[in-house]
Amino acid sequence: MSNSNLTRRGLMKTSALAGAGLALPTIFTASSASAFTNEPTGGTVTLGFNVPQSGPYADEGADELRAYQLAVEHLNGGGDGGMMNTFSSKVLQGGGILGKKVEFVTGDTQTKSDAARASAKSMIEKDGAIMITGGSSSGVAVAVQGLCQEAGVIFMAGLTHSNDTTGKDKKANGFRHFFNAYMSAAALAPVLQKLYGSERKAYHLTADYTWGWTQEESIAAATEAMGWETVNKVRTPLAATDFSSYIAPVLNSGADVLVLNHYGGNMVNSLTNAVQFGLREKQVNGKNFEIVVPLYSRLMARGAGENVKGIHGSTNWHWSLQDDASKAFVKSFGEKYGFPPSQAAHTVYCQTLLYADAVMRAGSFNPCAVVEALEGFEFDGLGNGKTLYRADDHQCFKDVLVVRGKENPTSEFDLLEVVEVTPAAQVTYPADHPMFAGGALGNCNPGA
């Protein structure tokens, strides 16, 4: 069982049989000597941007794509350089990566693990992509991460919030900059305690798939640790559009906080329904009824309109942050596209820069060299304060934002306000934390 590649440039060693039959007069590629999958040989290097372009997350995918284009422009020396100027590592100078001009291909994940893998495979096999990045759901991230591990390319995850991505499904070739459900819970819990006290009864509505479950587990654990009681955990079907029959019983359950472990369209609908039912005007156990949305996305929150007002949640990054890096990024994104970037745009921009920087520092595109350069890498100046790419699980540890739906938005983008910046130390967990147990990074795989 030899460990061979699935790449366009790979040379078949084991299946000489089939080869012999077909090998007519041919000129063999020089790349037969390549040390790793899709080693860039010419003056360019190709990155694969795999984002949802159809389906419910298409707008998020579109925003990711904008950020990728901006990052490529900056890497190639165009534009104002954005966060390259504020990034603590200074090896990126706008001359491409290792002197090679950065090019990219795009694909559609459709937010389905199958389609996402097909798209990523075509980038690796057909376009010779050396790194795959993107995505807007944890299922897709885990599936593509697995593929990249087998193919021997680097995967820089986009928006993925499940604990599993860097927990039980972690891979040596995969890296996540985005935060996760555990961090959301760790950041939210103290704020919720401060706001709503420690005598609360929580009712969870959870999207019935792996991400929902990890978030439910994380939030329940964190809130129970500060004295809250979990009254009920109810799973809702992914395909549900109307949540009325799940929300109607909440008031009679004795709970006084509703936690919505939903994302995207599910979140928009369940929050809208909950507000429709007038939950927020009610008094239960002598307290105001409250709703919490642990994972906020500003793009999606727009769909819920004014229903988000006063609702707390967490987010990876928000454009209203006032540090130099965030300001620089908002400026170059805003000037190019006319509106502020989303957290998805921010995280994929960072991932692209981090990858390029790691290649420069390693002096090689070899995935194993890149992995080594990224592991344990400490940096600053990418909008989240001091950040560590932990070697044990390839998860970034950085500050987490607790946000609240703004009461008086001044524009259509001004939906959330930052309530608290939770320091990285508070959301850090040991690498062998039980919520992340069960997987192994394995060895880095350079392919060929």
């Binding site: 366009r8 084991t14 007519l24 794509l65 299922g139």
Partner: protein
Amino acid sequence: MLGLNKKDLSLLLIVAFLALCAPFILNPFPSDSSLAQFNAGYPDLMQRFVIFGIFAIGFNILFGLTGYLSFGHAAFLGVGSYSAVWMFKLLSMNVVPAIVLSVIVAGLFSVVIGFVSLRRSGIYFSILTLAFAQMSFNLAYSVLTPITNGETGLQLTLDDPRILGASRTESGGIPVTNFFGLDMRDTYEMVVGPWAFQFNNGYYLCAILMLISFYLAIRIFRSPFGMMLRAIKSNNTRMTYTGLNARPYTLAAFVISGMYAGLAGGLLASMDPLAGAERMQWTASGEVVLMTILGGAGTLIGPVLGAGFIKYFENIFSKINDGVLHTWFGFMPDGLEDLVVTLVHPFVGKGWHLTLGLVFMLVVIFLPGGLVEGGQRIGRLFRRKKSGDEAKKSTQSTPAE
């Protein structure tokens, strides 16, 4: 030869030629040209072409012959994939047991669903199959996660208890699926000038299985059994009056097409060991219906064409972005270039669904017999120049139910 008449034999030979030379045929453009975007000759897509071809051939045995429109065939593909991946996890990385098991499991599954659903006909049958498939999908996504790994899809891990074979390779990776030592993902690249042709082991395994499936389908079409199925389609009541019980025949057709779907699912998992629940969703069932109708239901080659067509759109058109458009139209003056790019933009990249929808409509409006009819019309056009009479005869003898 092979029990086929001359016409069928030549069809089989043409399909065999196309399938075996696909790496050349699908890679017509030099890889450094701007049209290389349209090349489809890379292993993953070629595999998908033939695998979904198998799926559609099987579906056509049911729908094309008996007229029973199943809206739940994706469920069989899904269970096929799951059983194959479980085989890789538990037994060995050899694809043969995996594929065999996936065909058997899908067969059993289709016996149960077919037995129940075939108690009704027409749209009632369609909804019954749809209901079974949707139930499978919904459960696989949520409650059955221990078996299916839910949203993420069933994957191989580093600590699978593989009885015949190692859990992990010496270099610490997950072993690769193989056919008695021949790795499925190995690719041999032949470079001729600016062209790079890729020959992939997995693809050739799929292609050979597709040819066998195709051959079996021809035999079924031409057999007395196939005749019986056609009779069910044209007039079920009269069949019953002649004292024949149609149910066993339709059930047999249903199970055969379910096993084809299971084979396709097993192959998908063998090429890329992951089984996602989305494979069972109604949209996936709808896709194979569309493939068959688009290509030409009831014809032998139609479903394969339809499958290739839809997969080509999904994988090639969705990757055309504005940057690519600008390189294509770069020769134009700036203003015109931008205008053309703006006009084309909604139809490619993230708009690939729009183009697909338009193509569905155009094909069904102007080519009622699907793509096959399009081919026949073109063929007729050429032949008419030679001799009009001959053309008439040959189209009449072509079955295009």
